[in-house]
Symmetry: C2
Subunit: 249 residues, 2 copies
DNA sequence: ACCGAACCGTACCGTACGGTACGCATCTTG
DNA sequence: CAAGATGCGTACCGTACGGTACGGTTCGGT
């Protein structure tokens, strides 16, 4: 575990990595991306980074500390993509959402992200889930906060409406990513192509607007004969719950 | 669990595991669920199942073969959840979709499923991804085929409409699962009880119908950029979201 | 009764990893 | 320049794992 020089001097208590440490962690990241968990041994890191194992243990204390440092290092690298100017038109808002969706897909499908998620997931069995919590906080929740601000701006402008922002974001996330992330984590290589990502980003944002878009403002160019009649009757009552669940496990 | 299935006597062409082998694999599964990848060593399996390491190697040839056998065994256990009677009313169709969503959430959040996915993901780094492919084929794609049939039946009945069935299913999957699966894989323990799964199932199916539901008018051309923006207006599902129970925490 | 196959328990081997210790070169600091 | 700190390279240790071998036991076939 790395230690700050003084525990109050900098609010950024993390990512206080020496350039040399950064270089070592970069090499470790390369090993991890290439060979996965098994390839990330102290001896290999030391040889790849031309440093000593003793130095590694002095810096990071433990192998878990080393892994955590790798994750923290990578997380600190992609800090704060852009605050993004507040959108004044719905067009700009949609464009920002599409851009967010595309960024999300690109990041999630990146080699480094996949390797780190695989590492954390593989290590997360049991109950500690230390690395998993780290990845979740630094990666997922960070991007969630960013998107949450974007959604809130759109809602205050009246472009969309929702009752629960977190739920709205989860819906947006599901529309964008679907099962792609798990597929990629499992090693599937579905039709790689950047164009597919932009198409998927647009489609998911359109669907999100169809669900959460505010009324009166057509989110998309009005194509004729797209009008659905009232679907409100579908969800009038569903109270009568027929229990038809087959428990199997 | 399944029977002896001598080769040729039954149509069970795959996963022909002896009962004894099944018991051993069951013990291995327990070890995997409890302790993860690290706990699944040949010595531990042998001791837990009261068998010999040599027998393990004779049966499964290799450690990878053993892991693959564990996955195949579990996959064969949850075979054919239900043929599913064809729905004749939209009510029944929606109910079947909700049931599917609930089952999907329950399965994905189960300990065994999480352990197997973690195992395959942790092993999937690199390029082979043998276990990942196995999990994908036996788990994900199997459930996809089942849901695909369901969607197709609903489309032929005119309850929903889509151009690409696979795309429609992916949307449904994303609406149901969102990022829950990856969160669980990373060790996050979302504070939702089983009842929330039914709520989530209903909500996601409602959203799916809002996107793909057939409403008696002209069918959607491209299924994208044609969202029923006006429906978001007169829907009353925002009120539905208010639960009777106060939320903990 | 005999035999061979399957199998259990244990011991064994080679390897690889986490972690530590030592020697030496380099750099900082007074 | 002296002294200390930092870090590299290598060797080393204990452990644990994958995989193999061997003796002893059970059980079905003939």
């Amino acid at each position: 575990m790395q230690y700050t020089a003084q525990p109050g001097t900098d609010r950024e208590d993390d990512a206080a990595f020496t350039p040399r440490q950064g270089a070592v962690l970069e090499k470790a990241l390369g090993l991890l991306v290439e060979g996965g968990d098994r390839a990330l041994t102290t001896a290999r890191i030391a040889r790849a980074a031309s440093c000593s194992k003793e130095t590694l243990y002095k810096w990071f204390g433990d192998r878990d500390g080393l892994l955590a440092a790798v994750i923290a290092y990578q997380a600190g690298k992609v800090r704060a993509p852009a605050p993004g100017e507040v959108p004044d038109t719905i067009k700009a808002f949609q464009s920002q959402l599409v851009s967010f969706a595309h960024d999300l897909l690109s990041v999630l499908s990146g080699d480094v992200s996949l390797a780190l998620n695989r590492l954390a997931i593989g290590q997360a069995s049991g109950e500690d889930a230390k690395l998993g919590r780290l990845v979740l906080d630094r990666g997922r929740n960070a991007i969630g906060r960013r998107a949450g601000q974007l959604l809130e701006a759109g809602r205050q402008r009246g472009f969309i409406q929702y009752a629960d922002r977190d739920e709205a974001f989860r819906t947006l996330y599901g529309l964008i990513v679907s099962d792609l992330h798990v597929r990629l984590l499992l090693g599937d290589r579905p039709n790689r192509g950047k164009d597919d990502y932009t198409a998927q980003a647009r489609k998911s944002v359109d669907q999100f607007f169809a669900l959460y878009g505010a009324v009166g403002r057509a989110p998309v160019k009005n194509s004729t004969a797209c009008g659905p009649a009232t679907t409100a009757k579908n969800r009038s009552d569903r109270r009568q719950k027929g229990k038809r669940h087959k428990e199997r496990q």
